[in-house]
């Protein structure tokens, strides 16, 4: 790989630009799709590889090419700069997530409590709308406060996030479901929310809860067949 190509790969990553590195295995010739043009079949393979986020070797006119997708990092948006978030954030970074923490309460969202992540001190609805969550984004709400969690969930449910999780008991979630219905969300959309959040590993401490949340996020990302928790029932008197 030439230093020039390496620099282009790194600037594509910094600009959150999905690119595919194409390598001809016979001689190591390389190009970067779509910046460099590629013959139709190779461009198609690059597109597929980026969509599946999976590298593969393809043969074109008797030549083997390695098609290596370089997608922008996965994103994790955490609403609530709370105690669990302090455990969640440092565990999410080595898993490859670019992490953003949203909390308008100045005392919580401080650099001292959260290093190496983007902190946003705005209201979740505005902050979430600006972040434009996509199919490579996971959203976790941790505040327990409907004023903060609900607007974030409202935006998340309208976006193709691959994971939406909300901290709170079944009872809390039941009330939340009722509120989200009033906001106009249908049952199928609301069922996307993982609540109670996290895999059922009997987590007690903040780091244990963070671990169960991240394990559930990885499982969702990888399409693992996991038994989901029994969904929370809506309270009889909403």
């Amino acid at each position: 790989m030439t230093p020039d190509l390496l620099a282009r790969l790194q600037s594509a990553r910094a600009a959150l630009q999905p690119v595919a590195l194409l390598t001809r295995l016979s001689d190591g010739h390389q190009c970067l799709w779509p910046e460099d043009s590629a013959p139709g079949a190779l461009a198609e393979a690059a597109e597929t590889a980026l969509r599946d986020d999976a590298a593969r070797t393809v043969t074109l006119d008797g030549e083997a090419w390695f098609v290596h997708p370089q997608n922008p990092p996965l994103r994790l948006i955490v609403v609530g700069a709370v105690h669990v978030a302090q455990s969640l954030v440092p565990m999410a970074l080595p898993l490859g997530f670019a992490v953003t923490v949203i909390d308008p309460r100045r005392a919580f969202a401080t650099e001292e409590r959260f290093t190496g992540v983007t902190l946003i001190g705005e209201w979740p609805d505005e902050a979430m709308a600006a972040l434009r969550p996509d199919g490579r984004t996971a959203v976790v709400t941790l505040t327990h406060d409907p004023k903060l969690d609900d607007p974030a969930l409202d935006v998340a449910l309208k976006a193709p996030c691959f994971y939406i999780g909300a901290l709170g008991s079944r009872r809390t979630h039941g009330k939340r479901v009722a509120r989200l219905k009033e906001m106009g969300h249908g049952e199928a959309a609301i069922a996307r929310i993982r609540a109670p959040i996290g895999l059922d590993i009997e987590a007690v401490t903040a780091p244990e809860i963070a671990l169960s949340i991240l394990a559930e996020i990885v499982a969702a990302r990888r399409g693992a067949a996991l038994a989901r928790r029994v969904p929370a029932a809506e309270p009889a008197t909403a």
């Binding site: 790989m1 390598t23 190591g28 986020d53 070797t57």
Partner: protein, 106 residues
């Protein structure tokens, strides 16, 4: 992909520090290979390593090949598998097969 991106960043910083660097990438796997296609290992002539292309079974052999590539500038496509004598030597205990592309960063 993020861990392989970190390998690239590490490789870039090594090169900026004046090291000679080679990159190894898993380009194909069959059976129970521990690391998927796209996994990267960066190696320097001075013996530093970052990332991985297996669970540790073939890193030594790949680093040796990388040293050749750093010296010659010619990329290599390495085959590792249970039917491969060389793989027996380095012990690919998982029983998988994989191909690793080795190139100089220059």
């Amino acid at each position: 992909m993020s861990d392989s991106e970190d390998v690239l960043a590490t490789a870039a910083s090594w090169r900026a520090a004046g090291e000679t660097v080679a990159l190894a990438t898993v380009v194909e796997t069959w059976g129970s290979s521990p690391r998927p296609a796209g996994s990267r290992l960066a190696v320097t002539a001075s013996g530093r390593m970052a990332g991985s292309v297996s669970g540790g079974c073939i890193e030594g052999a790949v680093a040796d090949a990388a040293k050749q590539t750093m010296a010659s500038g010619t990329p290599q496509l390495l085959d590792f598998g249970i039917s491969d004598e060389r793989a027996w030597e380095v012990g690919l205990a998982c029983g998988g097969k994989l191909k690793v592309f080795v190139e100089a960063l220059s």
